[in-house]
Amino acid sequence: MIETVSAAASKSRTIEIEAHLERLADVRAFVRSSCAELGAADDCVVDLVQAVDEAATNIVIHGYGGATGPIEVTMSPAADSVRVEIRDRAPAFDPMSFGEPDLGSTRLRPGGMGIHLIRAATDSLAHRARPGGGNILTLVRTLGRREEED
């Protein structure tokens, strides 16, 4: 089982796990502890725990699809925000290719909710192919409470 937690002088922190659903709790714990070091407000912590959990779940289930492989989560400060990079070696897959669920509809599909929750919890979300194979998903969330949540 692969697991590394490293902290560079820039306060950037990384955890690497193998892609198993049983490791999601470790990823969430890592996000919480990193947020504390970066000075994130509770509101930000809740959002990033949700967003990173949903993204990692997508990688385990859709990305690797039952196979295993590495997932790296790196959290670093960026001005008044937290930047999270989630890297894998799964086949190229852009989670944003999912459409937004129609929350006003009388029929709601839970399967579309993961990416919706990531979008709702972050200020920006970007996917790019990882050199050498895989994906890099970048999430940015302001450290504090967002005005639209008031």
């Binding site: 659903l21 709790a25 969430r28 809740v46 779940t57 509809s105 599909r109 909710m113 929750l117």
Partner: protein, 137 residues
């Protein structure tokens, strides 16, 4: 943190399920399985006490939906059929939305946020404590 599921009979066809910990993709099927067993034993309404639940993933929403379906005697998702089958499920929120099978108790802020953001909160009656929920279930 693991998920703890505590079940109490509440008289008649009602039961209380108290969740403690985190409900995510690794454990949501255990809640579905608990619902199946309760339904098989005659339970038709569940008070779901979320006081101790600190995290709810989208997969947990699937479990909540499954509880409703199971209690209605409808086919719940079969985890053996894979994630795709679960994704194909739909919440029916037509006809005013609120259902009667599952009543929620005291979701923490993080859990409440998920219910709000996904539009699913309108499916549930929510109470601040268990006794109020039992009076309403």
């Amino acid at each position: 943190m693991a998920l703890d599921i505590a079940i109490e009979q509440a008289g008649g066809d009602r039961a209380v399920i108290a969740l403690t910990g985190e409900l995510d993709a690794s454990n949501f099927t255990t809640l579905i399985e608990a619902g199946r067993k309760l339904h098989a034993d005659g339970t038709r309404r569940i008070v779901l006490d979320l006081t101790g639940l600190s995290f709810l993933a989208s997969s947990g929403l699937v479990a909540l939906h499954s509880l409703i379906r199971i209690l209605r005697g409808e086919a719940p998702p079969d985890p053996e059929e894979g994630w795709g089958a679960i994704h194909s499920l739909e919440f029916d929120v037509s006809g005013g939305g609120v259902q009667n099978e599952v009543v929620l108790v005291a979701p923490q802020a993080a859990v409440d946020r998920v219910l709000e953001r996904t539009g699913l909160k309108r499916l549930f009656r929510v109470h601040e404590d268990r006794s109020a929920a039992l009076a309403d279930a």
